[in-house]
Symmetry: C2
Subunit: 396 residues, 2 copies
Amino acid sequence: MISVVEARARILAGLAPTPPETIGLEQAWGRTTAAPVIARLTQPPADVSAMDGYALRAVDGTLHASLRVIGSAPAGHPFAGTIGPGEAVRIFTGSVIPPGADAILLQEDAERRGDCVLVCEAVVRNRHIRAAGQDFARGDTLIPPGRRLTARDVGLAAAANHPWLTVHRRPRIVLLATGDEIALPGEPIPPGGIVSSNSHGLAALVREAGGEPTILPVATDDRSAIVEAVEAAVGADMLVTTGGASVGEHDLVQAALVEHGMELDFWKIAMRPGKPLMHGRLGRVSMLGLPGNPVSSLVCAILFLVPALARLSGRPGEAPPTVRAKLGAPLGANDVRADFLRATLTLDDAGELVATPFPRQDSAMLRLLAQADALILRAPHALPAAAGAPVEVIRL
Amino acid sequence: MISVVEARARILAGLAPTPPETIGLEQAWGRTTAAPVIARLTQPPADVSAMDGYALRAVDGTLHASLRVIGSAPAGHPFAGTIGPGEAVRIFTGSVIPPGADAILLQEDAERRGDCVLVCEAVVRNRHIRAAGQDFARGDTLIPPGRRLTARDVGLAAAANHPWLTVHRRPRIVLLATGDEIALPGEPIPPGGIVSSNSHGLAALVREAGGEPTILPVATDDRSAIVEAVEAAVGADMLVTTGGASVGEHDLVQAALVEHGMELDFWKIAMRPGKPLMHGRLGRVSMLGLPGNPVSSLVCAILFLVPALARLSGRPGEAPPTVRAKLGAPLGANDVRADFLRATLTLDDAGELVATPFPRQDSAMLRLLAQADALILRAPHALPAAAGAPVEVIRL
């Protein structure tokens, strides 16, 4: 059995980012940049006004001065001339500052009298003027490669005049549930069988992580059925199976795939839920075998598949981020396996986060996982912990 | 000027959830349920084994006992007979417990000898048996209406045998940038003009919040152009404009829309960035006028548009969640307007969250907003705050 950290490192080591593709900016949210986003223009392109008012020479903007208004410069319609002594130009938020001007008289500090404007509050040089390039200059790297784009990043790329961006192709993840007892939702259920939650739950997680999931039909516990299904994964970045990863008599996936040419890397991991976790490679396709229990399968996916998707998408692919919380109930000593306890999160009176594990942690109880807010991390051999003790949790 | 809280309440009050639609489960992630998800079966459907091993009568499973193995019951292939005294059936994780059995002898505690199996560790009644309905029973409400579906929820719905779900239609949000100085990325830029970041940034935010954005061509500062564009929003749930919401000479949106029949609700709000914020209604379409400055526009969208999308999607639509952090730099007293300071988040040596505002908070500096991790909330009239003081922040 290997550790969670080693398993993740070995899975990630076998993965390279998908090739780049160019997409329209309106499709860019959540995608990962494959090239830096470099400003194609300077923003603002010239000195512009941050307010509505009048542009003038600072030396003219003394209290009670009266200036001749020689024109108007709405945003998008720069003033053609130059502002001389005693002159002012009507100006608006975003208007280019006309040559000669170096101050703004705010609209609320101005009194218009026919062709003239009266200064009711002395101006300050350069105040309310946004200098050219204040936000960014042409050629600046605005967004590095390997960043998953937020809505703010998309806005920034737009402002820098990028109608399309180069991003990594969405990782293609093929999902295969195995087992004679398994049916997909809506399909006939075998005797004593159950409906498989794994493929659809994992597909949703893949989507959330920016991948493109494909759900294969369930493979029965039969070597040829498994091999046939796996052939469908050619061209995928990763094949994820559920069930059949350990070595019981009816756990055929590993045997079938090894016989089919899979290089097996490891298949046991020191964690709970989820001891059977298989990793290998079939030609160009990375292969991740998740446990069949729905809770184990989703928890392992959070710990290994989501980082794998990050790596495939062009990001490093780190362990899920954790936050500090206080234990809401005491915990006993842990054994040799890292534990990931399903828990609720609440705030105590002091506004501090409290993580309370569910009393039952059976790895088949999907309903509790759906209701959980977090996973409490318990290291191998962790000592007993009292209520109130600090723990690290993964927010779900 | 009205407060942020009142503005949000008034925007939300005018919105009703979109009608329900039925979609395939593979499309359900991130959608909001319009009906409860009720279990269509009992899970597990019968008492099943949680481990590989042998099913037997607990009274027979004493140390060193030898039992006759009368059959095998792989998952999906229940044993047809009944287990009598001195008998055992080979069983696997997920197998139905045969009638008569009430205990599991683990594989690692068993020694197989031909047709018999030797008990190397005494069994405990009902241990390693998952009772029928342990996860859920047919008819249980597993997911309430009005929940935005996580990957775990999707898995749970699958396990409950739902191939499709009834969710609220994605809210249709039409985005209109206005201004003679504005061009969309890749389009010709007018003299002294800039490329609009607002439509694309907001579209990404709409997508993130589960809506369906449509970006209209930019409307020039001309009443007929604005009215024409607004006609395109018929059938939308909400029209969001950027720019032109205040009442400068070249801020025509409000005038054009009121003339076109918009019921104006409010158009000024006591916050920074983003004082001009217009809300109204045009027939069946809710209307939100955001400021033209890109930072103001995105911050207002986080505070008002994202909750509006939640309400339209069938959820309550609350204020963005905040977390507690320590100030990384002192802040002066605040004026009458609620302030939302762009800030970075770090962890200090004690593992506590520290929010450090950027020295410059100009509402045109989109690059800083893209780099920000959080918005620090400063209430109207907030007193000066020292470094280390607790503040509430919205994580970005």
